[in-house]
């Protein structure tokens, strides 16, 4: 498989003077095309910061991130925005939908900004995605009129509209009940099957167990990793046990 994103010696520092804190301390990693990856770690371990760094949403204090060989530090604000809009999708713990727009408009918004397809074409596409996610009845609703799980699905629809190469998910199931969480993970698995890479940040071992490649972080460093080479083995329970053991080993 080809490398999609390569991070080398990434350093991110918060605070100034005596209060300086290395949130990412020389982190290196590679995300391959179509890979299903999870980053695990306790609060404050730097996993969300790593996601912001890899997606170009935050600048770096050291090291480099390359997307398909292009160094993100060399892209200007407009190119970075284009990259995020055309190549990446984001799903956050809290649904980040705009309050002014109804759910359908929220879903087509970034794709419409691209200007490649008309509103009508995008609406058709969005409806198909909404149907697939089981939220087709919500298109005209305000975002205040939908549940957390429904909004999260809408957020995924929005992320998929531009046919991205990678979807970043920051605790995408964190605010959901277990049934909804499972459904969302099924969707991510499908997305990966269709060839899109997914990188999830989570502290939930159950979520990580659905992925194939797990990075363990502590104090701004990647301290361990696990890879499952086959899609369906070992079984979910075995994976869960392996992950918990590894977490205990590295002290997280």
């Amino acid at each position: 498989m080809n490398n999609l994103i390569v991070g080398e010696d990434i350093v991110k520092i918060y605070g100034e003077g005596d209060e300086q804190r290395r949130v990412l301390d020389q982190v290196s990693l590679t995300i391959e095309e179509g890979e299903f990856m999870a980053v695990m770690g306790p609060s404050g371990s730097g996993k969300t910061t790593l996601m912001f760094a890899l997606s170009g949403m935050d600048g770096l204090d050291g090291g480099r991130v390359a997307y398909r060989g292009r160094n993100l530090a060399e892209l200007d604000e407009r190119e970075l925005s284009d990259l995020r809009r055309n190549e990446m999708g984001f799903v956050f713990q809290q649904p980040t939908l705009l309050k002014n727009l109804n759910i359908l408009d929220n879903i087509i918004l970034p794709a419409l900004r691209n200007g490649k397809e008309s509103a009508a074409q995008l609406t058709r596409k969005a409806r198909a995605l909404m149907k697939r996610m089981g939220i087709e009845s919500l298109e005209k609703r305000d975002i205040t009129q939908a549940s957390g799980g429904q909004l999260q699905r809408a957020g995924i629809c929005r992320a998929l509209m531009g046919k991205p190469s990678i979807i970043f998910g920051d605790e995408p199931t964190g605010a959901l009940n277990s049934k909804s969480a499972e459904e969302i993970m099924d969707i991510f698995a499908q997305i990966v099957d269709e060839g899109t890479a997914v990188m999830l940040v989570t502290h939930d071992a159950k979520v990580a167990a659905r992925t194939q490649h797990i990075l363990f972080m502590r104090d701004g460093k990647i301290v361990s990793e696990l890879r499952f080479l086959k899609k369906n083995s070992p079984s979910l329970d075995q994976r869960l046990r392996l992950i918990t053991e590894r977490m205990r080993e590295v002290g997280i």
Partner: protein, 772 residues
């Protein structure tokens, strides 16, 4: 702890803190100065009127006078304390030369008088009664103020030489609003010039009890004594004295109200922005059980500090400026001896400004109560439900660019939020357009129609001379022979008596002649054509109570004659009280004659003017444009100045409010901005969105402002002109200035302020605003 929090906070937002403080300081200063002026003005007027013993009742009279009869009336009336008749020797402006300046183009009735023995004294600048020596001339203060004369100047009146010995305060005629001005000379000089001017009489009374003024007035009128001229009473003198400075104080108070309103907006926007920034913290504090009143104290402390500093600064500025603002009052009316009271009242005013600011801050802080802990913790911003514009959706909008759509949608969804900005922009557009249109209207050729004069090129006036009719005839025969003149009309003004409904009679000035050749603006009806028709000026029609079609009775040479009112027209000259008719009358005395002249070639106006002036030295020959300029010039200039000031205020206000508003909006929208940026919207996209919001609000604001200007503004200006005699006032719109340049200037200012105000949106950290 509060002190540290407040200091930190101010250091972080230096610009807005400084702006807010500056506006509070300006408001405090203006309120102080206005109140300070009120006390001084009232005190100074009282002093002046006491020192000069202003008459309680004065009847002006021209014509013959029976002094014995008046004396008898005064002796018999128990209210009268003192009585006197003063002479006022009316002089042509052309016959008065002060230094190198002739009063030829002066619109005041200038006249000579001698010092009174009993009361109504003319005072020098020290407040002493002036006793002029032969050859000395004391000049009204207004000619010092406008630079016409200075002490030591040589003055010539009707060939007699004087020296300007000083300036005088005249408790009756100080104000430029009073149309007469008294020059003081010695008895000897007065007698020498007596036959060269028209004598008018000032019949003056001082009463034992001023509260009996009303009864006395009735008694005077009832006695049928001399009354050919206006009657003026003590309260009216007081008002005339107060009005010029009073208007200025009113304007200052109005401006300070505006400044306070701007300060409030600064406070509102910065405070709301701060609350938005601190939303999560406030939510946390509330969640852990800190009382709202304790949280509020931090913000109150900050604004108490800003308010107090602003007020102290304002007081300091006011103390520096207070003497300058009193210059005019001191010059015209002298000292008031009220400094302590004035300062005390001024400081009270400043304290009031401070309290108002604090009350307002508290009102804004009421919002704290409604902060939802859940929303604060979840989103970090207030979650206003997006109401309205539900059908305006992206999926259905085919034409709009995404950013433009998002901009417009936001305004429609949060109408209440944008309301403040809209109100300010409506106001800004209004205060820009009204003076632009007003000035244009005054300058327009059509406006001369409101002045009771038809559109002509040259106006010839023959008045205050002997044999007016003969002189007019000589001009007429000259004009008839002149081939350069395309047409002309002679109007002769005579005074008749009009019989009122209750049988009493009142004097009315009627202009006789052809009124169709140079038509004027009729608000109703038309010009008189037949001998039994008459047209009335608006004010005359109102006061006499006639409508078009009514029958009015004039007393001509003792015989009553009925006329049908054919029309009502606007006239702001001659106090707005005139009439026009076409009947012929040979016997009644002529007051003055006017000739309206139109030239075949307008380029000849200047040469024709000089030939006519040489040929007829007794007549006042005016270029109609100069004439309009003389009457309206000061008003046009004043409105021109007002226009410039209004434009400056409107643009500054728009920039300031947009800037503060946008900064607040960015703080409020930080979460949404972060979402958009994470979705790949560029900073430029965001600028477009915010620009659209501003421009959208601006367009609505400008349209509403224009509508308001052309309705309410026109009504206000119309009301002003109606009080002067011009009915059916309509704005002459200056399309280019009002509807192209003004909105463009506003759009540019607002857009620049938006770009500046939303600059920070680009640097919003995604990680800080969406991180869980």
């Amino acid at each position: 702890m509060y002190g540290r929090l407040v200091r930190n906070d101010m250091a972080k937002s230096k610009l807005t803190t400084a702006t807010t403080m500056a506006f509070i300081a300006a408001a405090a200063m203006l309120v102080f100065l206005a109140l300070f002026m009120v006390v001084h003005l009232l005190g100074a007027i009282d002093n002046l009127m006491t020192q000069s013993k202003t008459p309680h009742f004065m009847q002006m009279h021209s014509g013959t006078l029976d002094e014995e009869r008046l004396k008898a009336f005064a002796q018999k009336n128990s209210q009268v304390e003192e009585f006197q008749v003063l002479e006022f020797l009316n002089m042509e402006g052309a016959d008065i030369l002060l230094g190198d300046n002739s009063l030829i183009s002066n619109v005041q009735d200038n006249g000579l008088c001698i010092q009174s023995d009993k009361f109504d004294f003319l005072l020098d600048l020290e407040g002493r009664v002036i006793r002029p020596k032969p050859g000395e001339l004391y000049v009204p203060l207004c000619y010092f103020k406008d630079g016409t004369a200075k002490v030591g100047d040589r003055a010539v009146i009707h060939g007699r030489e004087f020296r300007v010995a000083g300036f005088l305060r005249d408790s009756q005629m100080n104000s430029t609003l009073s149309s007469s001005k008294r020059f003081l000379v010695s008895q000897e000089d007065f007698e020498a010039l007596r036959d060269l001017g028209n004598t008018e009489y000032l019949i003056e009374f001082r009463l034992k009890d001023l509260s009996m003024l009303g009864a006395f007035e009735t008694a005077y009128i009832g006695a049928g004594l001399e009354a050919n001229g206006p009657t003026i009473t003590y309260p009216l003198f007081k008002m005339v004295n107060a009005i010029s400075d009073g208007i200025m104080m009113g304007v200052i108070l109005l401006i300070s109200a505006l400044v306070v309103a701007i300060a409030f907006m600064c406070i509102r926007f910065t405070l709301l922005a701060k609350i938005e920034e601190d939303y999560r913290e406030i939510g946390v504090l509330k969640a852990i059980g800190i009382r709202v009143s304790d949280i509020k104290k931090i913000y109150q402390a900050k604004y108490a500090a800003i308010g107090a500093a602003g007020c102290v600064l304002g007081l300091f500025l006011a103390l520096v400026l207070k003497d300058r603002i009193l210059e005019n009052i001191r010059l015209f009316m002298g000292e008031s001896h009220q400094s302590f009271t004035a300062t005390l009242l001024g400081i009270t005013g400043i304290i009031l400004v401070f309290l108002t600011v604090m009350a307002y801050v508290n009102r804004v802080l009421k919002r704290f109560k409604s902060i939802s802990v859940q929303e604060a913790l979840r989103y970090g911003t207030s979650g206003e439900p997006a109401k309205g514009a539900q059908h305006f959706t992206l999926s259905r909008s085919r034409l709009l660019n995404v950013n433009v759509f998002l901009g417009i949608k936001d305004v429609l969804a949060r109408k209440k939020l944008y309301g403040t900005m809209l109100v300010v922009l409506v106001l800004a557009a209004f205060i820009m357009i009204v003076p632009i249109n007003l000035r244009h209207t005054l300058e327009s050729e059509r406006f001369i129609g409101y002045m009771g004069i038809g559109q002509c090129d040259i106006l010839i006036n023959i008045q205050q001379t002997t044999d007016i009719s003969e002189k007019a005839e000589s001009i007429v025969s000259h004009l008839a022979k002149d081939k350069d003149i395309s047409k002309f009309a002679l109007h002769t003004t005579k005074a008749f008596k009009v019989k009122k409904g209750d049988g009493s009679e009142e004097s009315i000035k009627v202009q006789l002649g052809d009124h169709q050749m140079f038509p004027i603006a009729y608000s109703e009806g038309r010009a008189p054509v037949s001998e039994d028709e008459i047209a009335l000026s608006v004010i005359n029609a109102q006061e006499l109570g006639y409508k078009v079609g009514d029958v009015l009775t004039l007393v001509i040479q003792g015989r009553e004659r009925a006329f049908k009112v054919s029309g009502i027209y606007s006239d702001i000259t001659n106090g707005g009280k005139t009439a026009k008719a076409v009947f012929s009358d040979k016997d009644t005395g002529v007051m003055w004659c006017t000739l309206s002249v139109a030239l075949a070639d307008k380029a000849l106006v200047k040469t024709k003017l000089s030939t006519l002036t040489k040929a007829f030295p007794f007549a006042k020959i005016l270029d109609i444009e100069d004439y309009a300029e003389q009457i309206l010039g000061p008003t046009i200039n004043a409105i021109g100045l007002a226009r410039s000031v209004a434009i400056a205020i409107a643009l500054t206000l728009s920039v300031l409010v947009t800037l503060l508003f946008m900064r607040m909006l960015v703080a409020k929208d930080s979460h949404a901005i972060a979402i958009l940026k994470s979705l790949g919207f560029t900073n430029n996209d965001l600028r477009w969105q915010y620009g659209t919001r501003s421009v959208f609000v601006l367009v609505i604001g400008f349209v509403l402002g224009t509508l308001l200007a052309n309705t309410l503004g026109q009504g206000m200006a119309g009301g002003l002109f109606a009080s002067m005699g011009a009915a059916s006032f309509r704005f002459e719109t200056h399309g280019l200035s009002a509807y192209v340049i003004a909105p463009l200037a506003m759009a540019l200012s607002v857009f620049a302020a938006t770009v500046l105000g939303t600059w920070k949106a680009g640097s919003i950290k995604l990680s800080e605003n969406i991180k869980e």
